[in-house]
Subunit: 334 residues, 2 copies
């Protein structure tokens, strides 16, 4: 049975049954002209949109429909984490070929709903349209943060330390691995594949550090570590130096780089499609923050600092600037 058998309204009714959880601030969900959110006094509402298109951001051979849906929700919710926010809701539009089997199409929403639910957010609306061609998932993530505690890109100050919430480059390595001729070894890198297929937005870090005045600026690493550091530098009117040797990478990433004869740093600093957070924090508080986070099982790594100047640069052990091919997925140039 494919989508053309049950129609748009039939499919929407199936999706609606999946929605089991809703944040208390979401007072009206699916079923009226618009969803209604009551963020509470003193809260700002955070809104961000992120689209994923088959053949451009992912291939169906790479992951299951459930994983595709979950990844789309994670990418959108990561922007809420990057503002220091709490997730409230997602709205999802899909444009899908009517020849998709209903069960598989439904799995997109199962994955999306599961990720949203783990993040505390409910599916609050969206649209379903059909057109022949690649699958598109567009998700608007909605969150909230106390107005005074919102993390912006523009708040980094001279001397701030740069903390990163986890290993970077795994997703980029997984894409290259899946694209490589060496299909047999794919199964040897379960961690890389999980990074690509089942990423988690760092809402845990945002929740733990929200309201801490020592956090001056933040961004997620979806465009690639060096590009995103550059965004902070530009918005804050400062320069950023990152020590290449301090960037945390997974053991699988290093092994995969050896197998494919690639430079692991290209993945880690230039890769993109990770959803770690990069934080500019007061230097006098950096060690304390790292220690407090470690007690909660969250390992933040100090990878650099804010200087006078502009742009983000990557330095080797001798302090010499290194060159990395910037990631970031510019979808018009090929």
């Amino acid at each position: 049975m494919d989508l053309s058998n049950i129609g748009e309204f039939g499919f929407i009714n199936r999706i609606r049954r999946l929605v089991t959880h809703s944040h208390p601030a979401l007072t009206t969900g699916i079923g009226d002209d618009a969803a209604v959110l009551e963020p509470g006094e003193g809260f700002g509402v955070l809104l961000s949109t992120d689209a994923m298109v088959e053949g451009r951001h992912f291939r169906r051979e790479w992951m299951s429909p459930r994983q595709i849906g979950g990844r789309a929700a994670a990418a959108a919710l990561s922007d809420i984490a990057a503002m220091g926010g709490e997730a409230l809701a997602i709205l999802c539009t899909i444009c899908i070929d009517p020849a998709w089997p209903v069960d598989e199409a439904e799995q997109l929403f199962v994955g999306m709903q599961a990720l949203a639910e783990r993040s505390g957010a409910g599916l609050a609306g969206g649209d379903v349209v059909s057109a022949p061609g690649p699958l598109l998932i567009d998700i608007t993530a909605v969150g909230r943060a106390r107005t005074r505690a919102i993390w912006r890109r523009s708040g980094a100050r001279l001397g701030d330390r740069l903390l990163l919430t986890g290993c970077v480059g795994d997703a980029a390595a997984a894409v290259d691995l899946l694209n490589s001729e060496d299909a047999l070894s794919v199964d040897c890198f379960p961690g890389l594949l999980t990074a690509l297929r089942e990423p988690s937005p760092r809402l845990d870090v945002a929740a733990a550090l929200s309201g801490d005045p020592a956090v001056h600026a933040a961004i997620d690493t979806s465009d690639g570590l060096l590009s995103d550091a550059g965004h902070i530098a530009e918005a804050s009117g400062v320069g950023i130096q990152i020590s290449a040797a301090d960037i945390p990478v997974s053991r699988e990433l290093l092994e995969c780089a050896r197998l494919l004869r690639r430079d692991p740093l290209q993945w880690a600093a230039g890769g993109g499609e990770d959803f770690e957070l990069l934080l500019a924090v007061d230097p006098s508080a950096a060690d304390d923050i790292r220690a407090r986070m470690l007690e909660r099982g969250l390992r933040l790594v100090d990878i650099g600092h804010i200087i006078e100047g502009d742009g983000a640069s990557l330095l080797d052990e001798t302090g010499t600037q290194m060159s990395v091919e910037r990631g970031g997925w510019d979808h018009f140039r090929r």
Copy 2:
């Protein structure tokens, strides 16, 4: 010069220059990980998403890129009006073929921005991705309304009068006209074409009636008058009777029906893709509301009332139920 020449980031920079207006409640717009909105105390935030796909919702021969963008924004913002809300912002994702000329692609945003600006809303974010194939525009509209004054579909009460904010069926008639063999006569129906190409969400009516306790329920007529009346009936647990003779239609619609040998009522009651509002109001206040609105130049028409029962039905002058092919665009069935 097409989009592949300037790249995604180049195009986004051009779009950003177009954004001239922002609602005061939108405290951070484009340029950070997420937009920030401060709705104010006592306000609920309204969120709705609406997607338009080329070849399904419109054809490029039918309207200019500027009109396509404006229509997409109007459709999304209409849902804010239907909740009795004030427009604050839109977020827009487009999926577009890289072969589009840059100037034409930019016109999509010119039209969207102009409509949003007229509505008081700023462009607050979105995403731009490219894929070969039909154009897709997905817009999330964001609004606000005082929590106690939000219009829901579920509030209609027995005896309520049903008021409609304007003529219906013009957009559906325009689609049939453009699809007809009779291309020569298209120019004789400028009003129908305008209804399709440059619709306005009824935020004026929402603003004028917001907070009036006599308005019990509302919906916009995007699925077609009879279908949308049916949504109110279902959500409110009531029946609705609409008097076919009272449904306001334009003179052009009647003339076009004669030319194409079509039943004008099919367009008016079954058509869809109009953005008028259908309001269930207290019967003792209905005439007063109509008079007050008329003073503002807004003509509301009494087309029926709420009864015990279920579903929405259309009656002729003798009280006999008439049959209309329901509109609503079910995108999987063809």
